[in-house]
Protein backbone atom coordinates (compact mmCIF):
# COMPACT_ATOMS: atom_id res chain seq x y z
CA UNK A 1 0.00 0.00 0.00
CA UNK A 2 2.77 2.32 0.90
CA UNK A 3 4.36 2.17 -2.53
CA UNK A 4 1.12 2.86 -4.34
CA UNK A 5 0.35 5.76 -2.07
CA UNK A 6 3.78 7.31 -2.42
CA UNK A 7 3.73 6.91 -6.13
CA UNK A 8 0.47 8.80 -6.24
CA UNK A 9 1.94 11.52 -4.08
CA UNK A 10 4.95 11.84 -6.30
CA UNK A 11 2.74 12.10 -9.38
CA UNK A 12 0.70 14.83 -7.79
CA UNK A 13 3.75 16.78 -6.84
CA UNK A 14 5.22 16.50 -10.30
CA UNK A 15 1.95 17.73 -11.76
CA UNK A 16 1.76 20.90 -9.69
CA UNK A 17 5.14 21.67 -8.18
CA UNK A 18 4.27 25.21 -7.13
CA UNK A 19 1.46 23.98 -4.87
CA UNK A 20 3.87 21.87 -3.01
CA UNK A 21 4.37 23.03 0.53
CA UNK A 22 7.99 22.91 1.65
CA UNK A 23 8.96 19.88 3.69
CA UNK A 24 8.58 20.45 7.41
CA UNK A 25 12.09 19.21 8.06
CA UNK A 26 14.80 18.98 5.48
CA UNK A 27 18.39 17.91 6.14
CA UNK A 28 20.75 18.45 3.24
CA UNK A 29 24.26 17.05 3.65
CA UNK A 30 24.28 17.82 7.35
CA UNK A 31 27.39 16.92 9.33
CA UNK A 32 28.11 17.60 12.94
CA UNK A 33 31.55 17.34 14.44
CA UNK A 34 31.65 17.91 18.19
CA UNK A 35 34.42 19.97 19.73
CA UNK A 36 35.68 16.85 21.42
CA UNK A 37 36.34 15.42 17.96
CA UNK A 38 33.44 13.00 18.15
CA UNK A 39 31.47 12.63 14.99
CA UNK A 40 27.80 13.20 15.65
CA UNK A 41 26.38 13.09 12.17
CA UNK A 42 27.83 12.70 8.72
CA UNK A 43 26.30 13.90 5.49
CA UNK A 44 22.76 13.23 6.65
CA UNK A 45 20.10 14.03 4.08
CA UNK A 46 16.40 13.42 4.40
CA UNK A 47 13.12 15.26 4.21
CA UNK A 48 10.02 14.90 6.34
CA UNK A 49 6.70 16.04 4.95
CA UNK A 50 3.92 17.77 6.76
CA UNK A 51 1.82 15.48 8.92
CA UNK A 52 4.26 12.57 8.93
CA UNK A 53 4.99 10.44 11.94
CA UNK A 54 8.63 9.44 11.83
CA UNK A 55 10.67 7.15 14.03
CA UNK A 56 14.35 7.88 14.31
CA UNK A 57 16.05 4.66 15.35
CA UNK A 58 19.55 3.50 16.04
CA UNK A 59 21.81 2.51 18.89
CA UNK A 60 22.80 4.96 21.56
CA UNK A 61 25.46 7.25 20.19
CA UNK A 62 24.29 6.68 16.64
CA UNK A 63 23.29 10.29 16.07
CA UNK A 64 19.58 10.34 16.89
CA UNK A 65 20.00 12.85 19.66
CA UNK A 66 22.36 14.90 17.51
CA UNK A 67 19.58 15.28 14.95
CA UNK A 68 17.20 16.36 17.72
CA UNK A 69 19.69 18.82 19.18
CA UNK A 70 20.35 20.30 15.78
CA UNK A 71 16.62 20.75 15.28
CA UNK A 72 16.12 22.59 18.57
CA UNK A 73 19.22 24.63 17.85
CA UNK A 74 21.04 23.46 20.90
CA UNK A 75 23.89 22.75 18.51
CA UNK A 76 24.87 24.12 15.12
CA UNK A 77 25.78 21.82 12.23
CA UNK A 78 29.40 21.79 11.07
CA UNK A 79 28.29 21.50 7.48
CA UNK A 80 25.12 21.33 5.40
CA UNK A 81 21.80 23.07 5.75
CA UNK A 82 18.78 22.29 7.88
CA UNK A 83 15.49 23.74 6.77
CA UNK A 84 12.39 23.75 8.90
CA UNK A 85 9.22 24.74 7.08
CA UNK A 86 11.39 26.01 4.25
CA UNK A 87 13.48 28.24 6.46
CA UNK A 88 17.20 27.71 6.94
CA UNK A 89 17.49 27.46 10.73
CA UNK A 90 21.25 27.92 10.78
CA UNK A 91 20.56 31.52 9.83
CA UNK A 92 18.42 32.07 12.93
CA UNK A 93 20.37 33.87 15.63
CA UNK A 94 19.96 35.72 18.89
CA UNK A 95 16.49 36.50 20.02
CA UNK A 96 14.90 34.72 17.05
CA UNK A 97 16.08 31.38 18.41
CA UNK A 98 13.57 31.73 21.22
CA UNK A 99 10.83 32.59 18.74
CA UNK A 100 11.79 29.65 16.56
CA UNK A 101 11.60 27.27 19.53
CA UNK A 102 8.07 28.40 20.27
CA UNK A 103 7.06 26.70 17.02
CA UNK A 104 8.44 23.41 18.23
CA UNK A 105 7.13 21.07 20.84
CA UNK A 106 9.90 19.18 22.57
CA UNK A 107 9.65 16.10 24.79
CA UNK A 108 12.67 14.55 26.49
CA UNK A 109 13.52 11.28 28.13
CA UNK A 110 14.06 13.03 31.47
CA UNK A 111 10.84 15.07 31.12
CA UNK A 112 12.58 18.41 31.87
CA UNK A 113 9.75 19.84 33.92
CA UNK A 114 10.24 22.88 36.13
CA UNK A 115 10.52 21.24 39.56
CA UNK A 116 9.00 24.00 41.65
CA UNK A 117 5.92 24.63 39.57
CA UNK A 118 2.68 22.75 39.59
CA UNK A 119 1.48 20.77 36.60
CA UNK A 120 -0.73 23.68 35.61
CA UNK A 121 2.10 26.22 35.87
CA UNK A 122 4.50 24.01 33.96
CA UNK A 123 2.15 23.85 31.01
CA UNK A 124 1.17 27.49 31.36
CA UNK A 125 4.80 28.59 31.25
CA UNK A 126 5.03 27.65 27.58
CA UNK A 127 2.19 30.08 26.92
CA UNK A 128 3.43 32.77 29.28
CA UNK A 129 6.70 33.08 27.36
CA UNK A 130 4.73 33.97 24.27
CA UNK A 131 2.80 36.64 26.13
CA UNK A 132 -0.65 35.07 26.02
CA UNK A 133 -3.46 36.66 28.00
CA UNK A 134 -4.24 35.00 31.31
CA UNK A 135 -7.74 34.05 30.21
CA UNK A 136 -6.46 32.40 27.05
CA UNK A 137 -3.85 30.54 29.03
CA UNK A 138 -6.41 29.19 31.44
CA UNK A 139 -8.62 27.91 28.64
CA UNK A 140 -5.81 26.36 26.62
CA UNK A 141 -4.11 24.72 29.56
CA UNK A 142 -7.35 23.21 30.79
CA UNK A 143 -8.04 21.85 27.31
CA UNK A 144 -4.66 20.25 26.86
CA UNK A 145 -4.66 18.77 30.36
CA UNK A 146 -8.03 17.20 29.67
CA UNK A 147 -6.69 15.78 26.40
CA UNK A 148 -3.71 14.28 28.17
CA UNK A 149 -5.77 12.99 31.07
CA UNK A 150 -4.20 15.12 33.77
CA UNK A 151 -7.23 17.13 34.86
CA UNK A 152 -7.06 15.75 38.36
CA UNK A 153 -3.37 16.52 38.83
CA UNK A 154 -3.50 20.25 38.16
CA UNK A 155 -1.97 21.33 41.43
CA UNK A 156 0.52 18.52 41.93
CA UNK A 157 4.24 19.16 41.71
CA UNK A 158 6.34 17.03 39.34
CA UNK A 159 7.94 15.05 42.15
CA UNK A 160 4.50 13.93 43.26
CA UNK A 161 3.77 12.33 39.89
CA UNK A 162 4.73 9.00 38.39
CA UNK A 163 7.09 8.91 35.42
CA UNK A 164 4.26 8.36 32.98
CA UNK A 165 2.32 11.28 34.39
CA UNK A 166 5.36 13.52 34.24
CA UNK A 167 5.88 12.60 30.62
CA UNK A 168 2.23 13.41 29.94
CA UNK A 169 2.79 16.83 31.45
CA UNK A 170 5.82 17.26 29.20
CA UNK A 171 3.78 16.28 26.17
CA UNK A 172 1.02 18.63 27.23
CA UNK A 173 3.52 21.45 27.54
CA UNK A 174 5.02 20.63 24.17
CA UNK A 175 1.65 20.63 22.44
CA UNK A 176 -0.19 23.42 24.23
CA UNK A 177 0.94 25.92 21.58
CA UNK A 178 -0.23 23.56 18.82
CA UNK A 179 3.19 23.67 17.16
CA UNK A 180 3.48 22.38 13.59
CA UNK A 181 6.39 20.15 14.60
CA UNK A 182 6.80 18.00 17.69
CA UNK A 183 10.11 16.38 18.59
CA UNK A 184 10.35 13.60 21.13
CA UNK A 185 13.79 12.36 22.16
CA UNK A 186 13.40 8.93 23.76
CA UNK A 187 10.02 9.85 25.23
CA UNK A 188 9.51 6.34 26.58
CA UNK A 189 13.10 5.66 27.57
CA UNK A 190 12.36 5.91 31.27
CA UNK A 191 8.95 4.29 31.22
CA UNK A 192 7.62 0.78 31.45
CA UNK A 193 6.00 -0.78 28.35
CA UNK A 194 2.42 -0.22 29.53
CA UNK A 195 2.98 3.47 30.19
CA UNK A 196 4.96 3.80 26.97
CA UNK A 197 1.93 2.73 24.97
CA UNK A 198 -0.08 5.49 26.59
CA UNK A 199 2.52 8.10 25.69
CA UNK A 200 2.78 6.81 22.10
CA UNK A 201 -0.99 6.93 21.78
CA UNK A 202 -0.86 10.52 22.90
CA UNK A 203 1.81 11.36 20.33
CA UNK A 204 -0.16 9.56 17.66
CA UNK A 205 -3.28 11.52 18.50
CA UNK A 206 -1.28 14.71 18.28
CA UNK A 207 0.03 13.57 14.90
CA UNK A 208 -3.52 13.08 13.63
CA UNK A 209 -4.34 16.72 14.32
CA UNK A 210 -1.85 17.52 11.56
CA UNK A 211 1.28 18.02 13.60
CA UNK A 212 4.43 16.44 12.25
CA UNK A 213 5.92 14.19 14.91
CA UNK A 214 9.50 12.95 15.04
CA UNK A 215 10.25 10.35 17.69
CA UNK A 216 13.78 9.19 18.43
CA UNK A 217 13.60 5.86 20.16
CA UNK A 218 15.13 2.46 20.63
CA UNK A 219 11.88 0.97 21.78
CA UNK A 220 11.84 -1.67 19.04
CA UNK A 221 8.55 -3.24 20.08
CA UNK A 222 6.79 0.09 19.69
CA UNK A 223 8.33 0.80 16.29
CA UNK A 224 7.46 -2.65 15.01
CA UNK A 225 3.87 -2.34 16.18
CA UNK A 226 3.20 1.12 14.86
CA UNK A 227 4.73 0.61 11.39
CA UNK A 228 5.36 4.25 10.54
CA UNK A 229 8.20 5.75 8.55
CA UNK A 230 11.55 4.75 10.05
CA UNK A 231 14.85 6.55 9.57
CA UNK A 232 17.75 4.53 10.89
CA UNK A 233 21.05 6.13 11.82
CA UNK A 234 24.24 4.26 12.62
CA UNK A 235 27.51 5.91 13.58
CA UNK A 236 26.25 9.22 12.32
CA UNK A 237 25.18 7.87 8.92
CA UNK A 238 21.59 7.52 7.71
CA UNK A 239 21.46 3.91 6.61
CA UNK A 240 17.76 3.36 6.12
CA UNK A 241 14.69 5.43 5.36
CA UNK A 242 11.68 3.21 5.05
CA UNK A 243 7.95 3.89 5.10
CA UNK A 244 5.98 1.54 7.28
CA UNK A 245 9.20 -0.06 8.44
CA UNK A 246 10.16 -2.01 11.52
CA UNK A 247 12.82 -1.28 14.06
CA UNK A 248 15.52 -3.19 12.22
CA UNK A 249 15.81 -3.94 8.53
CA UNK A 250 14.92 -7.55 8.97
CA UNK A 251 14.75 -9.72 11.95
CA UNK A 252 18.01 -11.29 12.80
CA UNK A 253 17.96 -14.98 12.36
CA UNK A 254 19.46 -17.23 14.93
CA UNK A 255 22.76 -17.66 13.19
CA UNK A 256 23.25 -13.92 12.80
CA UNK A 257 22.53 -13.43 16.47
CA UNK A 258 25.00 -16.19 17.22
CA UNK A 259 27.68 -14.40 15.20
CA UNK A 260 26.99 -11.26 17.14
CA UNK A 261 27.25 -13.05 20.45
CA UNK A 262 30.56 -14.64 19.49
CA UNK A 263 31.93 -11.17 18.95
CA UNK A 264 32.37 -11.25 15.18
CA UNK A 265 32.93 -7.77 13.78
CA UNK A 266 29.65 -6.19 12.87
CA UNK A 267 29.38 -5.09 9.24
CA UNK A 268 30.22 -1.46 8.56
CA UNK A 269 27.14 0.71 8.13
CA UNK A 270 26.36 1.18 4.48
CA UNK A 271 25.06 4.52 3.34
CA UNK A 272 21.56 4.44 1.97
CA UNK A 273 22.05 4.15 -1.77
CA UNK A 274 18.89 6.01 -2.70
CA UNK A 275 18.29 8.48 0.07
CA UNK A 276 14.52 8.31 -0.04
CA UNK A 277 12.52 9.09 -3.14
CA UNK A 278 10.60 11.98 -1.66
CA UNK A 279 13.91 13.69 -1.05
CA UNK A 280 15.04 13.28 -4.64
CA UNK A 281 11.80 14.68 -5.90
CA UNK A 282 12.22 17.85 -3.97
CA UNK A 283 15.63 18.66 -5.30
CA UNK A 284 15.09 17.54 -8.86
CA UNK A 285 14.72 21.06 -10.16
Amino acid sequence: MAIVERHAQARNRAAAPQDRAPAVVEFRGVSKQYDSGDRGLEQASFAIERGEFVFLVGQTGSGKSTIMRLLIKEHEPSAGTIKVAGRDITAITGKDVAHYRRNLGVVFQDFKLLPNRTVYDNVAYALQVTGHKRKEIRAKVSDILRLTGLSLKLHSYPDQLSGGEQQRVAVARAFVNHPPLLLADEPTGNLDPETSIGIMQLLYRINRTGTTVIVATHDNAMVDRMRRRVIEVNQGVVIRDEHGGGYSQQDENTSEFGLLMRGEPSPQPRRLSTPGDSFDDIFRD
Partner: protein
Protein backbone atom coordinates in the same frame (compact mmCIF):
# COMPACT_ATOMS: atom_id res chain seq x y z
CA UNK B 1 5.83 43.36 34.69
CA UNK B 2 3.39 42.01 37.22
CA UNK B 3 4.17 38.54 35.94
CA UNK B 4 7.91 39.05 36.49
CA UNK B 5 7.42 40.34 40.02
CA UNK B 6 5.18 37.40 40.82
CA UNK B 7 7.77 35.02 39.39
CA UNK B 8 10.52 36.66 41.47
CA UNK B 9 8.45 36.40 44.65
CA UNK B 10 7.64 32.79 43.90
CA UNK B 11 11.27 31.89 43.42
CA UNK B 12 12.29 33.63 46.65
CA UNK B 13 9.61 31.63 48.38
CA UNK B 14 10.53 28.33 46.76
CA UNK B 15 14.29 28.79 47.16
CA UNK B 16 14.19 30.23 50.62
CA UNK B 17 17.52 28.81 51.79
CA UNK B 18 19.76 30.11 48.98
CA UNK B 19 17.79 33.35 49.00
CA UNK B 20 18.42 33.72 52.69
CA UNK B 21 22.11 33.01 52.21
CA UNK B 22 22.38 35.67 49.51
CA UNK B 23 20.49 38.14 51.68
CA UNK B 24 22.67 37.39 54.71
CA UNK B 25 25.88 37.83 52.75
CA UNK B 26 24.63 41.18 51.52
CA UNK B 27 23.64 42.14 55.04
CA UNK B 28 27.05 41.30 56.47
CA UNK B 29 29.06 43.03 53.78
CA UNK B 30 26.91 46.13 53.92
CA UNK B 31 27.29 46.15 57.68
CA UNK B 32 31.07 45.93 57.46
CA UNK B 33 31.17 48.59 54.75
CA UNK B 34 28.85 50.79 56.79
CA UNK B 35 31.21 50.68 59.72
CA UNK B 36 34.35 50.92 57.69
CA UNK B 37 33.47 53.83 55.43
CA UNK B 38 33.00 56.35 58.28
CA UNK B 39 36.16 55.07 59.93
CA UNK B 40 38.14 55.57 56.74
CA UNK B 41 36.73 58.99 56.30
CA UNK B 42 37.36 60.00 59.88
CA UNK B 43 40.93 58.78 59.73
CA UNK B 44 41.78 60.49 56.49
CA UNK B 45 39.92 63.53 57.78
CA UNK B 46 42.03 63.54 60.92
CA UNK B 47 45.15 63.08 58.83
CA UNK B 48 44.18 66.00 56.66
CA UNK B 49 43.51 68.13 59.69
CA UNK B 50 46.97 67.42 60.99
CA UNK B 51 48.43 68.27 57.63
CA UNK B 52 46.61 71.57 57.58
CA UNK B 53 48.39 72.55 60.76
CA UNK B 54 51.68 72.48 58.91
CA UNK B 55 52.72 76.13 58.96
CA UNK B 56 55.86 78.08 58.24
CA UNK B 57 56.52 80.80 60.80
CA UNK B 58 58.57 83.78 59.72
CA UNK B 59 59.88 85.56 62.83
CA UNK B 60 60.96 89.16 62.43
CA UNK B 61 63.90 90.67 64.24
CA UNK B 62 62.90 92.38 67.43
CA UNK B 63 63.76 95.87 66.27
CA UNK B 64 61.88 95.79 63.00
CA UNK B 65 59.44 98.59 62.32
CA UNK B 66 56.38 99.20 60.21
CA UNK B 67 58.34 99.58 56.96
CA UNK B 68 60.09 96.24 57.52
CA UNK B 69 56.82 94.51 58.18
CA UNK B 70 55.28 95.85 54.99
CA UNK B 71 58.30 94.92 52.93
CA UNK B 72 58.32 91.34 54.25
CA UNK B 73 54.56 91.03 53.79
CA UNK B 74 54.90 92.12 50.16
CA UNK B 75 57.80 89.72 49.68
CA UNK B 76 55.78 86.82 51.04
CA UNK B 77 52.58 87.62 49.19
CA UNK B 78 54.04 88.43 45.80
CA UNK B 79 57.57 87.21 45.34
CA UNK B 80 57.64 83.81 46.99
CA UNK B 81 56.53 80.49 45.57
CA UNK B 82 54.40 77.91 47.39
CA UNK B 83 52.66 80.52 49.54
CA UNK B 84 49.02 79.82 50.29
CA UNK B 85 47.88 82.20 52.99
CA UNK B 86 49.78 84.79 54.94
CA UNK B 87 48.63 85.86 58.38
CA UNK B 88 50.38 88.56 60.40
CA UNK B 89 50.50 88.08 64.14
CA UNK B 90 51.88 91.07 66.01
CA UNK B 91 53.89 90.78 69.22
CA UNK B 92 50.83 91.77 71.21
CA UNK B 93 48.47 89.37 69.50
CA UNK B 94 50.95 86.53 69.95
CA UNK B 95 51.32 87.40 73.63
CA UNK B 96 47.54 87.39 74.18
CA UNK B 97 47.16 84.10 72.38
CA UNK B 98 49.89 82.40 74.30
CA UNK B 99 48.71 83.81 77.58
CA UNK B 100 45.32 82.38 77.01
CA UNK B 101 46.72 78.92 76.29
CA UNK B 102 49.33 78.81 79.04
CA UNK B 103 48.28 81.33 81.75
CA UNK B 104 50.49 79.77 84.41
CA UNK B 105 53.74 80.48 82.52
CA UNK B 106 52.82 83.90 81.33
CA UNK B 107 51.96 85.25 84.72
CA UNK B 108 55.62 84.78 85.58
CA UNK B 109 56.75 87.09 82.78
CA UNK B 110 55.39 90.05 84.73
CA UNK B 111 54.10 91.85 81.67
CA UNK B 112 57.25 91.74 79.53
CA UNK B 113 56.78 90.38 76.01
CA UNK B 114 59.60 88.28 74.55
CA UNK B 115 57.64 87.29 71.48
CA UNK B 116 58.58 88.63 68.03
CA UNK B 117 56.27 89.83 65.31
CA UNK B 118 55.39 86.79 63.21
CA UNK B 119 54.08 85.99 59.78
CA UNK B 120 52.25 82.69 59.83
CA UNK B 121 52.51 81.36 56.32
CA UNK B 122 50.35 78.47 55.22
CA UNK B 123 51.91 76.71 52.24
CA UNK B 124 49.72 76.23 49.16
CA UNK B 125 49.87 72.51 49.91
CA UNK B 126 51.16 70.82 53.06
CA UNK B 127 53.66 68.90 50.96
CA UNK B 128 55.35 72.17 49.95
CA UNK B 129 56.05 73.35 53.50
CA UNK B 130 59.69 72.37 53.38
CA UNK B 131 60.24 73.92 49.96
CA UNK B 132 58.70 77.12 51.22
CA UNK B 133 61.06 77.19 54.12
CA UNK B 134 64.01 76.64 51.82
CA UNK B 135 62.84 79.47 49.59
CA UNK B 136 62.66 81.91 52.48
CA UNK B 137 65.80 80.73 54.23
CA UNK B 138 68.09 78.93 51.83
CA UNK B 139 70.77 76.77 53.39
CA UNK B 140 74.24 78.21 53.04
CA UNK B 141 77.49 76.40 52.52
CA UNK B 142 78.26 76.53 56.23
CA UNK B 143 75.11 74.55 57.01
CA UNK B 144 73.33 77.50 58.59
CA UNK B 145 70.42 79.24 57.08
CA UNK B 146 70.52 82.72 55.73
CA UNK B 147 67.28 84.63 55.36
CA UNK B 148 66.17 86.36 52.19
CA UNK B 149 65.39 89.63 53.97
CA UNK B 150 67.45 91.35 56.64
CA UNK B 151 64.38 91.98 58.75
CA UNK B 152 63.65 88.25 59.05
CA UNK B 153 65.23 86.65 62.04
CA UNK B 154 64.46 82.97 61.51
CA UNK B 155 62.12 80.84 59.45
CA UNK B 156 60.77 77.80 61.24
CA UNK B 157 58.16 75.15 60.76
CA UNK B 158 55.95 74.95 63.74
CA UNK B 159 57.70 72.19 65.55
CA UNK B 160 60.27 70.79 63.20
CA UNK B 161 58.56 67.48 62.63
CA UNK B 162 56.65 68.61 59.57
CA UNK B 163 58.31 65.92 57.51
CA UNK B 164 57.22 63.28 60.00
CA UNK B 165 53.63 64.46 59.93
CA UNK B 166 53.61 64.51 56.17
CA UNK B 167 55.02 60.99 55.95
CA UNK B 168 52.76 59.42 58.53
CA UNK B 169 49.58 61.01 57.28
CA UNK B 170 50.38 59.93 53.74
CA UNK B 171 50.91 56.34 54.90
CA UNK B 172 47.64 56.42 56.82
CA UNK B 173 45.73 57.73 53.82
CA UNK B 174 47.15 55.19 51.38
CA UNK B 175 46.67 52.31 53.81
CA UNK B 176 43.04 53.30 54.31
CA UNK B 177 42.44 53.62 50.59
CA UNK B 178 43.96 50.19 50.01
CA UNK B 179 41.90 48.62 52.78
CA UNK B 180 38.74 50.21 51.46
CA UNK B 181 39.42 48.96 47.94
CA UNK B 182 40.10 45.45 49.21
CA UNK B 183 36.96 45.45 51.28
CA UNK B 184 34.80 46.59 48.39
CA UNK B 185 36.36 43.92 46.18
CA UNK B 186 35.74 41.27 48.81
CA UNK B 187 32.09 42.29 49.17
CA UNK B 188 31.48 42.21 45.43
CA UNK B 189 33.11 38.78 45.14
CA UNK B 190 31.22 37.41 48.11
CA UNK B 191 27.87 38.62 46.87
CA UNK B 192 28.40 37.53 43.28
CA UNK B 193 29.57 34.13 44.45
CA UNK B 194 26.54 33.60 46.62
CA UNK B 195 24.31 34.61 43.76
CA UNK B 196 26.13 32.34 41.37
CA UNK B 197 25.68 29.44 43.74
CA UNK B 198 21.96 29.97 44.04
CA UNK B 199 21.72 30.31 40.26
CA UNK B 200 23.77 27.19 39.73
CA UNK B 201 21.16 25.26 41.67
CA UNK B 202 18.63 26.51 39.17
CA UNK B 203 20.53 26.15 35.90
CA UNK B 204 18.34 23.23 34.83
CA UNK B 205 15.33 25.40 35.26
CA UNK B 206 16.89 28.04 33.02
CA UNK B 207 17.72 25.40 30.44
CA UNK B 208 14.12 24.20 30.35
CA UNK B 209 12.85 27.75 30.02
CA UNK B 210 15.13 28.30 27.06
CA UNK B 211 13.92 25.12 25.38
CA UNK B 212 10.32 26.16 25.78
CA UNK B 213 11.16 29.32 23.86
CA UNK B 214 11.62 31.94 26.53
CA UNK B 215 13.78 34.87 25.46
CA UNK B 216 16.85 35.68 27.52
CA UNK B 217 15.27 38.74 29.10
CA UNK B 218 12.08 36.89 29.87
CA UNK B 219 14.16 34.53 31.98
CA UNK B 220 16.42 37.24 33.32
CA UNK B 221 13.88 39.74 34.61
CA UNK B 222 12.59 37.62 37.50
CA UNK B 223 16.18 36.93 38.55
CA UNK B 224 17.10 40.61 38.44
CA UNK B 225 13.99 41.56 40.39
CA UNK B 226 14.80 38.85 42.88
CA UNK B 227 18.28 40.33 43.20
CA UNK B 228 16.82 43.77 43.76
CA UNK B 229 14.46 42.44 46.41
CA UNK B 230 17.13 40.51 48.29
CA UNK B 231 19.63 43.34 47.96
CA UNK B 232 17.10 45.86 49.26
CA UNK B 233 16.12 43.59 52.13
CA UNK B 234 19.74 42.94 53.14
CA UNK B 235 20.58 46.62 52.75
CA UNK B 236 17.63 47.81 54.82
CA UNK B 237 18.38 45.35 57.61
CA UNK B 238 22.06 46.37 57.64
CA UNK B 239 21.16 50.06 57.75
CA UNK B 240 18.78 49.35 60.61
CA UNK B 241 21.51 47.59 62.56
CA UNK B 242 23.90 50.46 61.80
CA UNK B 243 21.34 53.01 63.01
CA UNK B 244 20.85 51.14 66.24
CA UNK B 245 24.60 50.91 66.70
CA UNK B 246 25.07 54.57 66.00
CA UNK B 247 22.36 55.72 68.36
CA UNK B 248 23.31 53.29 71.10
CA UNK B 249 27.11 53.39 71.01
CA UNK B 250 28.60 56.12 68.86
CA UNK B 251 26.43 59.11 69.67
CA UNK B 252 27.04 59.02 73.44
CA UNK B 253 30.78 58.91 72.82
CA UNK B 254 30.98 61.74 70.31
CA UNK B 255 31.66 64.38 72.94
CA UNK B 256 34.65 62.44 74.26
CA UNK B 257 36.44 61.49 71.08
CA UNK B 258 37.50 63.99 68.48
CA UNK B 259 37.79 61.28 65.85
CA UNK B 260 34.08 60.53 66.06
CA UNK B 261 33.01 64.04 65.21
CA UNK B 262 35.53 64.45 62.42
CA UNK B 263 33.96 66.97 60.10
CA UNK B 264 34.71 65.09 56.89
CA UNK B 265 32.54 62.10 57.70
CA UNK B 266 29.50 62.00 55.47
CA UNK B 267 26.04 62.40 56.90
CA UNK B 268 24.50 59.19 58.16
CA UNK B 269 21.52 59.53 55.83
CA UNK B 270 23.75 59.86 52.79
CA UNK B 271 25.78 56.88 53.94
CA UNK B 272 22.63 54.80 54.36
CA UNK B 273 21.45 55.74 50.87
CA UNK B 274 24.80 54.90 49.31
CA UNK B 275 24.90 51.53 51.05
CA UNK B 276 21.34 50.70 50.02
CA UNK B 277 21.97 51.71 46.43
CA UNK B 278 25.17 49.67 46.33
CA UNK B 279 23.57 46.54 47.76
CA UNK B 280 20.62 46.70 45.38
CA UNK B 281 22.82 47.50 42.41
CA UNK B 282 25.41 44.84 43.10
CA UNK B 283 22.90 42.07 43.70
CA UNK B 284 20.73 42.97 40.70
CA UNK B 285 23.75 43.26 38.42
CA UNK B 286 25.26 40.17 39.95
CA UNK B 287 22.26 38.00 39.31
CA UNK B 288 21.74 39.44 35.84
CA UNK B 289 25.34 38.86 34.82
CA UNK B 290 25.86 35.50 36.50
CA UNK B 291 22.85 34.23 34.62
CA UNK B 292 24.53 34.88 31.30
CA UNK B 293 26.59 31.72 31.59
CA UNK B 294 23.51 29.55 31.97
CA UNK B 295 21.60 31.24 29.18
CA UNK B 296 23.86 29.75 26.53
CA UNK B 297 21.74 26.74 25.72
Amino acid sequence: MGFFIKEALRSVQRNSVPSFAAMASILVTVLVLGIFIPITQATTGAANEVRDKVLVNVYLKSGSGQADRERVAALLREDTEYVGKVEFVSKEAAYREQKKDYPEYYSELLGSNPLPDTFRVTPDSPDNALKLRDALAPATASGQRATVDPAIDTVKNRKDDTSNILFITRVVKYAMALLAALLVLASVLLISNTIRLSLFARRREVEVMKLVGATDWFIRWPFVIEGVLLGALGGVLAVLVLTVGKVAFVDPLVSDFALLRAPETMQFGVLALVLLGASVGVSALGSGLSLRRFLKV
